[in-house]
């Protein structure tokens, strides 16, 4: 049996957006992968659609870089890996969010068109 994909996904998922979403959603609350994907769906009103499994490489890389920490916990007989933000992750969130706001601000300016005096 093969895995397959029916729905369109956002091909640029790995270009900074997932990192921002993951860091923001894990701020002040630990979650495991499935919870996090549901939170992304709920938080973005399903505007951002991804292959749900793709969130794990993002989590692994952020953990490897010290932005996240993880712990294993057995819940209802199933071992889950919970992720939470580290102080390093908090700083990274501020940087990434700041950069994102500057970019969206710049794009908004372009979309609104030139202002004539």
């Amino acid at each position: 049996m093969r895995l397959y994909l029916k729905r369109d996904t956002n091909p640029n998922f790995l270009n900074g957006v997932p990192e921002l979403l993951v860091l923001q959603l894990l701020k002040g609350r630990e979650m495991y992968g499935y919870e996090l994907v549901q939170a992304i769906k709920d938080g973005t009103g399903e505007t951002i659609v991804i292959g749900e499994g793709v969130v794990y490489p993002v989590l692994h890389m952020l953990e490897r870089e010290g932005a996240l920490q993880s712990r294993r916990q057995t819940v209802s007989g199933r071992s889950r890996i919970y992720y939470s933000l580290t102080p390093n992750g908090e700083r990274r969130l501020q940087e990434v969010a700041g950069a994102w706001q500057r970019i969206t601000g710049a794009i908004r300016n372009v979309l609104e068109g030139p202002r004539h005096a």
Binding site: M1, R2, L3, Y4, L5, K6, R7, T9, L14, Y32, G33, Y34, V37, I50, G51, E52, G53, V54, Y56, P57, V58, H60, M61, R64, R78, S79, R80, I81
Partner: protein, 220 residues
């Protein structure tokens, strides 16, 4: 029931992703799939439909593999620098082990005086260094290569080099006589072609046998 993630596992390992990372990724994907299937069943889908829908939401093999395959930070040292892992590390490892054996022999006796058992221990250690250590190192390389689905070239080259290094290196223990002094030396000698061929055959057998089996499984 076939493992639906086996093709993904194979794809990631062949691309050089660390086995530990692959195992964790697959474990999380399996849990995610189970959660998703349970959620969809709770929403009224049949078990089969829920499983199919959950798989489609998880992503295709290429979608799931791409982030790890394309990012070298997920890759193992054997994929990033195979020459260092398969060629340099075993040679250094062999040198360190032989040096430790020589040091252990020297520590087991006092200067100018060798116990009766020392000659036997010395010969046994020499054979251990000449046969057991290179085979152990070669099989370690084979195990790593099989576990990480590495191409056979580097591990076979590394095995060959380790075995040649072992055959030209000799741990010598010479005793003058009972209860007298002697000499412990690490010497370079002319390699024996028969010894090299025999060791190579024994060392490479698991890699060739299991490698062909793994290839057949992944193609099947």
């Amino acid at each position: 029931m076939p493992d639906i993630f086996a093709p993904l596992c194979d794809r990631l390992l062949r691309a050089g992703v660390r086995p530990k990372t692959v195992n964790r990724y697959l474990a999380e994907l399996r849990d995610h799939l189970d959660d998703l299937t349970a959620e969809l069943e709770a929403n009224g889908l049949s078990p089969d439909a829920a499983r199919d829908h959950a798989l489609s939401r998880l992503g295709s093999i290429e979608t799931l593999a791409f982030p790890m395959v394309s990012d070298r930070r997920f890759h193992s040292w054997t994929a990033r620098t195979p020459w260092a892992v398969f060629l340099i590390a075993p040679i250094i490892g062999y040198g360190v082990i032989v040096a430790l054996l020589a040091f252990a022999l020297a520590s087991a006796t006092s200067p100018g005086m060798a116990p009766d058992w020392f000659g036997t221990a010395g010969r046994a250690t020499g054979h251990f260094a000449a046969f057991v250590v290179p085979l152990f190192l070669a099989w370690t390389l084979a195990f790593m290569a099989l576990r990480q689905r590495s191409r056979a070239m580097w591990p076979l080259f590394g095995m060959g080099l380790t075995i040649v290094a072992a055959t030209i290196t000799e741990l010598q223990v010479k005793l003058i006589g009972p209860q007298q002094g002697g000499e412990i030396a690490i010497a370079l000698t002319m390699p024996s072609i028969i010894q090299i061929a025999a060791l190579l055959l024994i060392a490479a057998a698991p890699l060739l046998l299991f490698g062909k089996r793994d290839q057949a499984i992944s193609q099947g």
